[in-house]
């Protein structure tokens, strides 16, 4: 018996996307001056959860549909312990989003991502939002699980770094979206805004501990081709987040995501006990008023009930996080761009894929990585960024043998369009 089924037909949304795009192109051919850029909202106190709507969109006359997207491409030269595969050019991803207002209180937004060329096509977001009350909004469809802040606020052009943070892609499965529904709400007071989100979605599966990454790996759940059509085990994944932004101080987010990941029963037959995977994350960001320095940080803890009789290669605890510091150096008209800025930034990040000790020896299980990434970025406007990164990463295997060291120079561009 399936307890919960969230079902989503992907082909329909792809088709709809095609139609909308076509309509836009046709309109553009007839009258391009009628297009208006809908700028991002900078008046309110924006939260990470607002990132999906708070993007530059292109709108045609009064048509209630707006279109947007971004691209990310880069080149990199990396050397690991003296060995390099030379230069490579990477088309990391292209994302298209379409938003439409069906009613003053009903909005639809969808986001489709083409990753690594067209190797992966994902629906990142395709949800209907219905406002019942500012503190009670319904959201249903393909939802971005609000675990950590990066997952909600991952658009390439917003970051000074070519690579996504390790903790967001190696521990948390950014970008992680699933079919389901839930509620969110917000309240604005004079000096702060407080928000919550709670969703039930499809979610985890046993690839978490059965994957070729050879470690406990939440992102492996995304390899299940059926995950938009049915739940793996009939138990919904719960994701909840609460955020508080206090004026002049910053935004603090606390999030939780958890559910059963294994197939504990099939066709009514019990196969195993229910095994859970639970995630806690904390995120914080702020911009210092005087210097304009931005600080963004996030840390996540993962707990997975791995059977004792399975291999310790797949750990039951993981943790990791990152801290980004971005310092604008020059903000003025440069090279003919009105709102240009030149920034220096640095990211420090750490992940431990397997916290714990070997049963056989009591010695530490390593399987961890540390990286430091100084960066320079040039923004022609907040929407477009050229970035130059240097990455130094030290990674240690399970047994704690001498680490492999990687140095990489990365240059990339990311822009909304």
């Amino acid at each position: 018996m399936k307890i919960f089924i969230f079902n989503f037909k992907r082909c329909n949304i792809l088709y709809a996307f095609g139609l909308i795009l076509q309509a836009f192109v046709l309109q553009a051919q007839t009258d391009s001056s009628a297009f208006k850029r809908r700028p991002t909202d900078t008046t309110q106190l924006p939260l990470n959860m607002d990132a999906v709507y708070n993007r530059p969109f292109l709108q045609y006359k009064k048509i209630p549909v707006a279109l947007g997207g971004y691209v990310e491409a880069n080149t990199q030269y990396a050397v690991t312990n003296g060995v390099s595969d030379g230069f490579s050019f990477q088309m990391k991803r292209m994302t298209l989003f379409v938003s439409s207002s069906i009613h003053r209180k009903i909005k639809f937004l969808s986001e489709i991502e083409f990753e690594d060329g067209t190797k992966e096509i994902n629906i990142e977001f395709a949800a209907l939002d219905v406002q019942l009350h500012p503190l009670l909004n319904f959201r249903g469809g393909v939802i971005m699980n609000p675990i950590g802040a990066f997952n909600q606020n991952h658009d390439g052009p917003r970051w000074e770094f070519v690579d996504r943070p390790l903790s967001a892609t190696q521990l948390l499965p950014a970008t992680f979206s699933n079919v389901g529904f839930g509620f969110f709400g917000k309240t604005y007071q004079r000096n702060f805004v407080w928000a919550y989100e709670v969703y039930l979605t499809n979610g985890l599966n046993d690839r978490i501990i059965g994957n070729v990454s050879n470690r406990t790996f939440l992102p492996a759940t995304k390899q299940d081709p059926d995950r938009f059509e049915e739940s793996f085990n009939g138990v919904p994944l719960t994701t909840a987040k609460t955020s508080l932004r206090v004026k002049k101080i910053g935004e603090l987010g606390l999030s939780y995501m958890g559910g059963v990941y294994n197939k504990f029963q099939d066709d009514g037959l019990a196969l195993d006990k229910r095994r859970r995977a639970d995630v806690l994350a904390i995120d914080f960001n702020t911009t210092l008023p005087g210097s304009g320095t931005t600080l963004i940080t996030e840390f996540a803890w993962i707990f997975v009930d791995v059977p004792d009789t399975y291999t310790q290669q797949y750990g039951s605890r993981q943790h990791g996080g990152f801290i980004d510091i971005v310092q604008p150096i020059i903000c003025r008209k440069m090279l003919g761009f009105e709102n240009a800025s030149f920034n220096a930034a640095v990211r420090a990040e750490y992940v431990d894929w397997n916290k714990g000790t070997f049963r056989e020896t009591g010695g530490n299980i390593a399987d961890d990585a540390f990286a430091i990434v100084p960066a320079l970025s040039f923004r022609t406007s907040p929407q477009t960024v050229f970035r130059l990164n240097y990455r130094y990463q030290v990674q240690t295997d399970l047994l704690g043998n001498p680490a492999s060291r990687t140095g990489a120079i990365q240059f990339g561009i990311s822009s909304y369009f």
Binding site: G82, D206, I209, G210, A344, T361, L398, P402, G407
Partner: protein, 390 residues
């Protein structure tokens, strides 16, 4: 400031971590492979080091580890985490516990299955993974050369009586050219008891027994005991065998260091080299780069009675329970790099230093152990320096 750091990093070569010198690592191919051979080496490298088995890919249901590389990290020695347990055989009449999952304990299982446990009161050996380097050279030593080192009745009266392990060969392996069988049994040369005839048998067994992955060579599942479809192709198995054969021999370091030179002398003078033979040679070999080479593994590929301390009450083939094959000592000094920074020596890793390993030598090697203990401290240190240079 960050800006300057970045620029100076780019300008500076240190931005890119340098290669680790060849003699400091165990992996990499032998010299002299043709382009086609290098490609096969690379294919084997991927299958050995990168291929991770999951339940979907056939792992288990019972297993010990999920990839060759998990147990043989960097092609070096293993760790207690990846140690195998074997049980059920005490003499040459064979294993009496095949019905109970012997010879190898599959102590892990995919979710939903129960792994094996040891039958009560049974003798067993814990076996730590050895390094996989230079195996093609050891494979190409002629049977005649091995027999010439054997001295089953201690004819020379030195207290050392090495014997080959006479093993039954599985149907899928071919005898080497010039093989010298005895009563239908052949000289085994891989594994700590020398119970595997060649690298094909070792590999097919590893897939089957260590990971629960079936091949056309070893098609019986360790859980159901039924013949099942191959989960890895013959081509992949052959690539892995080729990879193992063509992994380079460890390169000695600090060869001219005074202490090392002196240590080498001491190694000989106290009789370590009677079993740990410094020099062997290969005969003809199908891979040209392996043929007619002189090399320095520090083994005689023979079994020796190591005394009661190392007798676990378990054996394989014709070996006695107290007998172990002399392990090659090449690469010894690099062991820690694949064992998580600490030595685990002897068959089960019970020795945590080279000194401890020597002190565990009993039986045929007791004399050399006594000789070692009588050495002045400074000579002991030189001996260890030499062993670490290997």
């Amino acid at each position: 400031m960050i800006c300057c750091t970045l620029l100076s990093l780019i300008a500076c070569k240190k931005a890119f971590p340098p290669a680790i010198p060849e003699e400091e690592v165990l992996d990499g191919p032998i010299d002299g492979l043709t382009a086609q051979e290098k490609q096969q080496f690379l294919r084997g490298d991927v299958a050995f080091n990168d291929e991770v088995f999951t339940a979907n890919k056939g792992l288990g249901p019972l297993f010990v580890a999920n990839s060759c590389g998990s147990c043989h990290a960097g092609d070096g020695k293993g760790h207690p985490f990846t140690t195998l347990t074997r049980f059920g055989q005490t003499d040459s009449t064979g294993n009496q516990y095949l019905h109970a999952g012997a010879p190898q304990l599959q102590n892990r299982a995919i979710p939903g299955y129960v792994p094996e446990t040891l039958p009560a009161g049974i003798g067993f050996s814990k076996i730590l993974p050895p390094a996989n380097t230079g195996l093609g050279l050891l494979d190409a030593v002629s049977d005649a050369d091995i027999m010439a080192m054997a001295d089953p009745f201690d004819a020379n009266g030195d207290g050392i009586s090495g014997v080959p392990n006479w093993v039954s060969m599985p149907a899928y392996t071919q005898p080497r050219p010039g093989a010298m069988p005895l009563g239908g049994k052949y000289i085994g040369r891989f594994g700590k008891k020398g119970a595997a005839y060649d690298l094909l048998q070792q590999t097919a067994n590893a897939y089957n027994q260590d990971m629960g992955i079936n091949t056309s060579f070893e098609p019986y599942d360790t859980y159901s005991h039924l013949e099942v479809d191959p989960e890895v192709s013959n081509a992949t198995v052959h690539d892995v065998v080729f990879y193992l054969k063509t992994l380079k021999a460890p390169v000695q370091r600090n060869v001219t260091d005074e202490a090392v030179v002196a240590g080498r002398q001491i190694f000989q003078s106290i009789g370590c080299d009677k079993c740990h033979r410094p020099e062997l040679k290969t005969g003809n070999a199908s891979i040209a780069a392996l043929a007619n080479k002189i090399f320095y593994p520090y083994t005689d590929l023979l079994l020796h009675d190591m005394g009661s301390g190392l007798d676990d009450g378990y054996t394989e083939g014709h070996a006695q329970t107290s007998e172990w094959k002399t392990p090659a000592l090449w690469g010894l000094g690099l062991s820690k790099q694949s064992q998580g920074g600490q030595y685990y020596l002897m068959h089960d890793g019970r020795a945590h230093s080279i000194r401890d390993a020597i002190l565990l030598h009993g039986g045929e090697s007791e004399q050399s152990n006594n000789n070692y203990q009588r050495l002045p401290q400074e000579d002991k240190d030189k001996l260890v320096k030499f062993l670490e240079s290997l």
